[in-house]
Symmetry: C2
Subunit: 198 residues, 2 copies
């Protein structure tokens, strides 16, 4: 398969690249990629990436920023940033990607556990993650030519907790998270929110 | 109680007004209201409404527009409209409303069944409804002074189906939907997505 991985240099993206590398052609997209530079907050940048990359069998997006902050400190601009980036960025990866995916191909995007299990400070992130999951459930119903659309909702990732100097013991290693992406790419399911676990 | 009902002239809003009228002071807000005019897509308009209305014990919002359309026909501007209106409009009703609600008061907003049970054409609406539910779960954790925050996720409303000339037999009457709002206003629950049923 020819697989486009957006956010290929991130913690999850690197693990997805490693999990899917054998036997497939991987195109790694990211803000600083030479092969496929993209800023998902910019719809035109997504369109340019797809034109440059051409037809693929699968698209995986593990990119998108959102802001963790107490509710009273989240500004109008903070919400706008989160909506434009992790939410509409990935919605647009799906919308614009449909015509660039081969018949019976797949698109997989990324939400996160705060969609369902919020914590203080997650107001904007919980909104973005839950909204993306709602969108994917609906978009999967309309995807043409047997194309499947899923969203992976990772728990806290072990490597991320270590980078944040938090207790990593409750985190799931990135290579275990990557298994949900390979299941989405190689499987037959569509419209699902996939929740990686041990 | 002093209760502000935003969208008071809509199908659900009228039923909520009727259900809560006895023994309470109701302030009906809507785009054409004289007492409390508001356009929830405009953050400044929400702020002006709150300044005009003053302190309340409960806020109910049954307002907000989103567009039902095939995914390939939803434009960037359509998504922006839905995000600004039903999603961020109600997020801002909560964010700005917290300081205008009395101790142990409540804020109740409105999503809809397409959050979890999508259909072809519901891409933007499913996004908006699910995103609002994710936001409410998180915001409830940070609401100060014992203020509760819930979201009602109505099924298809019988009166709406009749207005759309669709089969009303599967619809729930608006007065049954309104019971979830009275439960949110009068109860002790918070952070919930309340799903009205028969």
């Amino acid at each position: 398969m020819r697989i486009l991985i957006i956010g290929a240099t991130g913690t999850i993206g690197r693990a997805v690249v490693a999990a899917l590398a054998a036997g497939n052609e991987i195109i790694g997209a990211s803000r600083k990629s030479e092969a496929a530079p993209v800023d998902i907050a910019d719809p035109g940048s997504i369109q340019a990436m797809y034109r440059r990359v051409g037809k693929v069998d699968a698209i995986v997006c593990a990119a998108g920023q959102a802001k963790f902050s107490p509710l009273t400190q989240l500004s109008d601009a903070d919400f706008r940033f989160c909506l434009d980036n992790k939410l509409m960025g990935q919605v647009n990866v799906v919308r614009f990607g449909l015509e660039h995916v081969a018949d019976r191909g797949s698109i997989t995007v990324t939400s996160g556990i705060l969609a369902r299990s919020p914590m203080s400070g997650s107001g904007a992130i919980s909104l973005v993650n839950a909204g993306l999951e709602g969108f994917v459930r609906a978009a999967a119903l309309e995807a043409p030519r047997g194309i499947r659309v899923n969203v992976v909702s990772p728990p806290w990732v072990r490597e991320t907790l270590i980078a944040l100097k938090m207790d990593p013991s409750d985190g799931l290693p990135a290579d275990a998270v990557a298994r949900s992406y390979t299941r989405s790419v190689n499987g037959t399911e569509t419209g699902l929110t996939m929740e990686p676990s041990k």
